[in-house]
């Protein structure tokens, strides 16, 4: 683009433009692999009928029992954590929404690579574990949705530090994307010869997006 296409900015604007441009590709490069992961797993999640998606559903199941010591702790969550330490399980804890039966403790533990359903008989001090090992492809896909929290289940909450770290990465990617998009609007607007066609394309994008709310809603 020729330099005559845009008006000469003052020093403050020039500094902003320089760093806005740099930030655009710095953020893009830093988040590149995160963006690829969420893009590719998004495709897998939206196309469950694809052979590659169906292959990802296969998982290996094993069942076993282990003697346990009575779990220590004031709450179910504390006791589950103690049991996980005894059973050498790691991951996000999923406690049932209903009250636990007397003398029993049931919970799930999951992470992208595997998941376990644990039923503990506190009277016999025996834990029955149903363990699922996910395929590499399934593990890859689960990262897309691995947040440890469901917005429509108010009781669900994150309780594993690794999940919280992954959620921070998801949030950072989302914030980075928003910054990149807003910064790109400014860069495009400064390119006078591209304004008209760009405006038509941007308006088409917003119209299509708005249709899903107003046209369908």
């Amino acid at each position: 683009m020729s330099s005559s296409a845009k008006p000469r900015p003052n020093a403050g604007t020039a500094l902003f433009e320089k760093w806005n441009r740099k930030l655009h590709f710095y953020l893009g490069l830093y988040f590149l692999f995160f963006l690829w992961l969420f893009s590719l797993t998004g495709l897998l999640l939206n196309h469950g009928q694809w052979p590659i998606s169906m292959a990802a559903n296969a998982r290996k199941e094993t069942r076993y029992e282990r003697p346990i010591d009575l779990p220590a702790g004031a709450t179910d969550l504390d006791r589950v954590r103690d049991l996980m330490r005894q059973l050498n399980l790691r991951g996000e804890i999923d406690l049932p929404a209903v009250q636990q039966e007397p003398g029993r403790l049931t919970f799930g533990v999951s992470r992208p690579s595997d998941a376990s359903q644990v039923r503990v008989d506190l009277n016999t001090r025996l834990a029955s574990i149903q363990h699922f090992d996910n395929s590499a492809l399934a593990t890859f896909r689960i990262f897309h949705t691995f947040s440890g929290s469901r917005y429509n289940q108010p009781a669900s909450q994150r309780d594993w530090v690794a999940t919280s770290m992954w959620v921070i990465a998801m949030d950072a990617l989302a914030a980075g994307l928003i910054a990149m998009v807003l910064g790109s609007y400014y860069m495009w607007w400064r390119l006078k010869p591209k304004r008209q066609l760009g405006f038509i394309i941007l308006a088409a994008g917003y119209a299509a997006c708005a249709w899903f709310f107003m046209g369908l809603g």
Binding site: K22, F25, Y26, G28, L29, Y30, F31, L32, F33, F34, L35, W36, S39, G42, L43, L45, N46, G48, Q49, R111, P112, S113, T139, R141, F143, F146, S147, S149, Y151, N152, P154, A162, T163, W166, A169, M170, D171, L173, A174, L177, I178, V181, S184, Y185, W188, L191, K194, L197, G198, I201, L202, A204, G205, Y206, A208, C209, F212, F213, L216, G217
Partner: protein, 204 residues
Amino acid sequence: MLYRWTRDLHLYFGLFISPFLLLFAASVFFLNHAKIVPDKWLSVETFQNVQIPEAIERAQGKDAIGCAQAILEQVRITGEIGFTRFVKQTRHFVFPVSKPGVETTVDVDIDARAATVSRRPTSIWEAFGYLHKMPGPHNVAIRGNWLGTRVWRWFADATIYLTLFITISGIYLWWALKAERRIGLVLLSAGIVTFVALIYVVIR
């Protein structure tokens, strides 16, 4: 020539998908942090003399969706049917219907030929979250039973394919800026290290 074309396509494709990217990005915060109570119905309406499709008790899969769609027409509702359930004991045919902005449950009493429709309007954030998750991996055999979902799937896919193009073209455009190569490589490497380290922490 290649540089100019790549730069223009990067710009124009980026502008087109930018509202979708903003939607997907903003909804991440809702999906990761929000909490809602899903069963608080704001309106409940009963429709009498509903024509019950034949063999509704035995319908499965797409046939059951067909039965649900026949009832939806009578109660003037549109949206994606999540699943269908026939409750033998009460002879009720129940199914949820959703679209951006509203969630509905339809409960059909087959013997009384009455349909009870419970509606819950959703916030714009929940509507963002809904679109983010659609069509999704569940109930693949019946997903896309509403035109809106099928069209949205197409746009969601287009957003992904164009995002992949934009990232690859972005690498090319960055590499052409010789003065930015070193710092760019440092940031790319830092991103890869963060990515691999996080994956390792979660699955080890």
